[in-house]
């Protein structure tokens, strides 16, 4: 009989081998899907050219009947429920099939938007994203499946769209949208859907749509609220008309920090698909000059009339000189004081002697050093997971709770007779620096922060420590 150690390592080896095999099979599936897609589009083209040829002959084939509106027999069957709608019908469906829509972001908003846009028969559907699928996306980014974790979102989303509708063209733009490539990418489409998650991208996409004259369907969701507007549509306002001054970086919240109820971006993303479909098929009244506000907790939807195009707008106003060259040279990260990527900023407030690494902290715990560990995250974060014996004092209430830190330090010192150290930790190592700065100003000269917070603890010390 093998010992426990041997057994565990044998199982680990087996898991690794199986994982390798799984990755190989998944790659093979992807390759085959791409191949299938190519074959399908070839067959589709062939079918189209054949039906055109058929039209040359005075045939009585049913296929001829399709020619007037350009819908094939398959299309008629696939989209029959659209065609049956008197206010939509053949005309709107034909418009849709001839249209092209670009969705920027295959995340919480982009997932449902893409699924519906693919299903409804948009002729050419583009997807821009540079992220990979992660486990903490799955609760809201419903286009992705667990099998795609670690793979590019664009690949995953494109494959899902193709499996819903193999008759439309899906274009993958596996890159981050920047001023250097935005004009080239957006100019290939009729309509742009902003499904991004940060302020600089929103200004950049709106400006790009203004210089290219494209309508923009803009959605956003955070926490339990969502917003939706159509910008730059038939003389309507652009994003800058509404928000000429960007919000301060401190007011920009990300889902990765503030959280979001998964279904909320789902609802807004569906509404984005709806607005894009209305514009593409030329039916109804797009949400231009109005903003929809969705409040999940109170189950309330409000539609607020917003201002029209601003004559003073820097992007679309009367005397603006904003053009493609200005756009290319514009620094959106500087303008909004926040990064285009979703990665959280890394603060460097403190001198190295005011900080220790998570590994060093671990050593000090093991050596039995008398100390107090203050966790400055909000209480609801602390409830998710925390280090043993840590004291939760959220950054926002720290000044009022300094006596608690003093008494905890005293308690540590009592047993040993020597001074106790004070360490501060947070989720990623930004707030802990702010806290240490504040503590040092208040006379806690020994306060040090743990570089990289619990994230580095999970990465460098305890791989089993749950991260969120």
């Amino acid at each position: 009989m093998e010992s426990n150690g041997e057994g565990a390592s044998r199982i680990r080896r087996e898991i690794e081998a199986l994982k390798d095999e799984k990755a190989r099979i998944e790659q093979k599936i992807l390759d085959l899907e791409a191949q299938l897609q190519e074959e399908a589009s070839l067959a589709h083209q062939q079918q189209q050219s054949e039906s055109v040829c058929n039209g040359c002959f005075p045939s009585v084939s049913a296929a001829d009947a399709n020619l007037a509106h350009g819908l094939t027999a398959d299309s008629i069957y696939r989209y029959s429920r659209h065609l049956l709608l008197p206010s939509f019908g053949v005309r709107a469906q034909s418009n849709l099939l001839k249209s092209s829509i670009l969705v920027v972001g295959a995340g919480g908003l982009g997932s449902p938007a893409l699924l519906y846009l693919a299903a409804c028969g948009v002729g050419r559907l583009g997807i821009v994203d540079h992220d990979v699928v992660e486990l903490n996306n799955m609760h809201r980014q419903v286009i992705h499946t667990e099998a795609y974790i670690g793979q590019p979102k664009v690949k995953s989303a494109a494959s899902a769209c193709r499996s819903i509708n193999s008759t439309i063209q899906i274009v993958e733009h596996e890159q981050a949208l920047r001023t250097s490539n935005a004009l080239e990418i957006l100019s290939q489409y009729d309509i742009v859907v902003d499904a991004t998650d940060n302020a600089p991208s929103r200004y950049m996409i709106s400006d790009c749509c203004v210089v290219l004259g494209k309508p923009l369907v803009s959605g956003a969701a955070l926490g339990l609220e969502g917003q939706l507007t159509v910008y730059n549509y038939k003389g309507g306002p652009c994003y800058r008309c509404l928000f000429p001054t960007p919000p301060p970086a401190t007011a920009c919240q990300r889902c990765s920090d503030s959280g979001v109820l998964g279904v909320v971006p789902g609802i807004i993303g569906c509404l984005q698909a709806l607005e894009a479909i209305k514009i593409a098929s030329d039916v109804g009244e797009p949400l231009s000059g109005r903003m929809l506000l969705f409040d999940a907790l109170s189950a309330r939807v409000r539609i607020v009339k917003i201002r029209g195009r601003s004559l003073q707008c820097e992007a679309c106003g009367e005397n603006t000189t904003f053009n493609q060259q200005h756009f290319k040279d514009f620094d959106y990260e500087k303008f909004t004081q926040s990064p285009l990527s979703t990665s959280p900023p890394k603060l460097k407030l403190l001198a190295p002697d005011s900080r220790i690494t998570s590994k060093e902290y671990k050593e000090r715990v093991v050596s039995g050093e008398p100390h107090v560990l203050v966790d400055v995250r909000p209480e609801h974060h602390y409830k998710i997971v925390s280090l043993p014996k840590s004291l939760n004092i959220p950054l926002t209430s720290m000044e009022a709770r300094l006596p608690e830190i003093s008494s905890a330090l005293k308690e540590q010192e009592e047993g040993t007779g020597s001074g106790a150290n004070l360490y501060v930790i947070c989720r990623r190592g930004n707030d802990s620096q702010r806290a240490v700065e504040c503590l040092r100003n208040m006379g806690f000269d020994l306060a040090k922060d743990i570089v990289g917070g619990l994230e580095s603890w999970a990465n460098d010390v305890d791989p089993n420590f749950p991260m969120y």
């Binding site: 972001g105 995340g107 919480g108 908003l109 982009g110 499904a195 991004t196 998650d197 940060n198 302020a199 929103r202 959605g219 956003a220 969701a221 955070l222 926490g223 609220e225 969502g226 917003q227 509404l242 928000f243 001054t245 960007p246 919000p247 301060p248 401190t250 007011a251 920009c252 919240q253 990300r254 889902c255 503030s258 979001v260 971006p265 903003m291 506000l293 409040d295 109170s298 409000r302 539609i303 607020v304 009339k305 917003i306 201002r307 029209g308």
Partner: protein, 103 residues
């Protein structure tokens, strides 16, 4: 200043002497404004003839942290676009709507 939150059904304890007649309005908070104030809405009494800007000043005075976002909001009066010089009337609803950028 006379401020009370919604749900507080007691009549406003206003002074009996009213040189300037006042109007009661409701301020609605969205997104970041909701986080800062901790409120969805707020009933507020302002002197009649007050503009939306006066009302906004009053709200910012009560919640100073709102100042950082006051230049990046959509302001709507009774669900219609409004300028800061519009005069508010009894029972008006003033919505403070900062943009959300998440997704």
């Amino acid at each position: 200043m006379e401020v009370k939150t919604e749900g507080d059904n007691l009549p406003a304890a206003t002074t009996v002497v009213k040189d300037v007649p006042s109007v009661q309005i409701k301020v609605l908070f969205f997104a970041k404004a909701r986080d800062i104030t901790g409120l969805n809405e707020l009933s507020m009494e302002v002197s009649s003839g007050s503009t939306t800007q006066d009302c906004l000043n009053k709200v910012v005075a009560k919640f100073p942290s709102l100042d950082e976002i006051r230049h990046c909001i959509v302001l709507a009066l009774n669900e219609e676009y409004t300028t800061e010089s519009a005069v508010v009337k009894e029972k008006d609803e003033l919505a403070i709507i900062p943009p959300i950028s998440g997704g």
